[in-house]
């Protein structure tokens, strides 16, 4: 049995993360607390930075030095890290960043929320960049995806975000610990460890020549296209015969799953599609689904952000309804079941 935050920490350690830098913020303090003990045990580096900004830049330095490095925070802290994320993206340095999303905007509260979807998937920092974003929904998945995130970061030389919320962080579930299968990763021929017996290296993002800057942007774009092809992942539940499908991720998907089971017992043919990657978004899966179901209901713990991506994927083929509970309110499966039933009847789906 493991707590979500601990699963993130242990997954990182097992993935070979040996540098953690972070700043305290609720509801994710168990991650730095866990890492402060574990890094000492495995001979790694744990350092509590003086700020969120300093912490992400320490991650940047450690990544430039060739280490697997991570930081974690929650919404207001992630806002402060955006400068660093933009730099990591342009410098093409690997790093893993965890956002345990809380209610907002502003200080908001410390309750589970999904209000940071836009910030996470649209590139909250400046410039033309993208970043893979994973939204785990079980403690096992938190463990597995954290391990995987380090490989993805190294494979594409990119920052990777794991987007959870207070609920995912606090939940306690069984976890099967395992080693991740080794994948072929490109050699780290860019790292700065002193120009000993080799030419000196530069890690920089300042490109004053607009033609060269454009080239750099297209180079990044080609990398993002590869990610769009290889990384999208989703999970489907009871969609085979479904006439209506709920789209939800993370904690909202857990609630929606309960609601689907409930309405299924009443004979409603309803399924669930859960995006595991929020960027790249599992567009193909949604497009395919939209060819055989009559209605999509997007459920988010926000006023509606992911629904934009759902609509883009569906392309107006079928109606997309929305139900949201922002501000840290956690809906019950019964509540979602009632919403499903209402839409089912209104649209006379049966």
């Amino acid at each position: 049995m493991m707590k979500g935050t601990e699963a993130i920490g242990e997954g990182a350690v097992q993935a070979g993360c040996r540098c953690y830098f972070g700043y305290p913020i609720t509801p994710q303090n168990e991650i730095p607390e866990y890492m402060s003990r574990r890094m000492e045990e495995v001979g790694g580096v744990f350092l509590q930075g003086e700020s969120e900004i300093a912490s992400i830049n320490m991650v940047l330095g450690a990544a430039a030095a060739g280490m697997r490095a991570m930081t974690s925070s929650s919404s207001p802290g992630i806002s402060l890290k955006q400068e660093g994320l933009s730099f990591l993206a342009s410098l093409e340095l690997p790093a893993v960043v965890v956002n345990i999303n809380r209610g907002g905007p502003g200080l908001g509260n410390i309750a589970p929320s999904q209000g940071d979807y836009y910030q996470a998937t649209r590139g909250g920092g400046h410039g033309d960049y993208r970043m893979p974003v994973y939204a785990p929904a079980t403690v096992q998945e938190l463990y597995d995806i954290t391990m995987e995130a380090f490989d993805v970061a190294d494979l594409y030389r990119t920052p990777v975000m794991i987007l959870g919320d207070g609920m995912m962080g606090q939940i306690v579930e069984p976890v099967v610990m395992h080693e991740r299968k080794k994948i072929d990763l490109p050699p780290k021929d860019y790292i700065l460890d002193g120009a000993q017996g080799r030419p000196s290296r530069i890690i920089k993002s300042l490109i004053l020549d607009v033609k060269l800057m454009e080239e750099h942007n297209w180079k990044l774009k080609r990398k993002y296209d590869l990610m769009r092809k290889d990384l999208p992942r989703h999970d489907e539940f009871m969609t085979e015969d479904a006439k209506m499908v709920i789209v939800a991720y993370g904690t909202a998907a857990r609630i929606a799953k309960g609601a689907v089971k409930r309405v299924r017992s009443e004979g409603l043919q309803v399924g669930l599609l859960r995006p595991v990657t929020l960027w790249p978004f599992p567009e193909d899966a949604l497009r395919n689904l939209s060819k055989r179901v009559k209605l999509i209901l997007v459920f988010e713990m926000s006023t509606g952000q992911m629904i934009d991506d759902v609509k883009l994927a569906v392309g107006g083929r079928i109606p997309c309804e929305f139900y949201g509970r922002p501000g840290g309110v956690v809906a019950s499966p019964q509540e979602i079941a009632r919403i499903i039933e209402r839409h089912w009847l209104q649209r006379e789906i049966s």
Partner: protein, 253 residues
């Protein structure tokens, strides 16, 4: 015939982009001379600032990692913690070090990070065109303090080097000037000491170098050196502000 003067190996063959009379080229030379003399090229990693010296990698033939404005000490911390046996230094201007990066500077110093900061103080934001810096002096005119810096409006010049010298993690804190050839040589001596302090693992070392910016001071290079000596050195007196090696020697003695 014996060769008595040559370009340091760690200094690339690139002509400097710096303005005539700028202090950066002198400091670049001193740093690269020391990297050669102390045989640090194979283990040195530099973190330059956002500012005029952002292009330091065009000149330093060592590993260089760019930094967002002010984040140099945090990035250097990450590098040094990852690779404790390397030689890591930041090269920063006054805006980088004492305005947008104040927190990063103070806390890296206070943690006693085994890094060295070379702090080039010319009392203006040079690269952006001569705006007021945290170190701009009372009465000094800049493009954003056109009436001269007034304490009641813009506050006082920030003496971050004095602040850092108060911190327990700081091992060697010194201020030097480029006003005369003798002072340039003294600057090199201070840099050498700061590098040694890092290599011996004694803590954070900081060398503030008072440096001329004729372009933004709107004076000739020669007048700039006079201004440096007569005006800046009065506001920012050169000298050793902290030296733990001396205290250690006294104890032993």
């Amino acid at each position: 015939m014996k060769k008595v003067f040559s370009r340091p190996q760690s200094l690339k063959q690139t002509p400097f982009h710096y303005c005539p009379g700028c202090g950066h080229s002198i400091i670049h030379r001193l740093v690269t001379e020391l990297i050669d003399e102390m045989d640090l090229r194979g283990k040195a990693i530099c973190v330059p600032p956002a500012g005029c010296a952002v292009l330091a990698y065009n000149y330093f033939d060592i590993d260089v990692c760019e930094s967002a404005h002010g984040r140099g000490c945090a990035i250097a911390t990450g590098i040094k913690r990852a690779l404790p046996d390397r030689f890591v230094f930041t090269y920063q201007g006054d805006g980088d070090m004492a305005a947008i990066g104040t927190a990063e500077t103070i806390h890296a110093a206070n943690r006693g990070e085994r890094i060295t900061s070379i702090f080039v103080n010319n009392a203006v934001y040079g690269m952006t065109g001569g705006q007021m810096a945290p170190t701009t002096m009372i009465g000094q005119k800049t493009t954003t303090s056109p009436f001269g810096r007034r304490s009641v409006v813009e506050g006082y010049p920030l003496k971050i080097t004095e602040l850092v010298a108060q911190l327990d993690g700081a091992a060697y804190v010194v201020r030097t000037s480029l006003a005369t050839p003798a002072k340039v040589i003294a600057t090199k001596k201070a840099l050498r000491k700061a590098f040694e302090v890092q290599l011996e693992g004694l803590g954070y070392s900081l060398v503030e170098v008072l440096s001329p910016c004729p372009t933004n001071w709107k004076v000739s290079p020669v007048e700039a050196l006079r201004y440096l000596e007569e005006r800046m050195e009065k506001e920012y007196p050169p000298g050793v502000l902290k030296d733990v090696t001396k205290a250690a020697q006294k104890k032993e003695g």
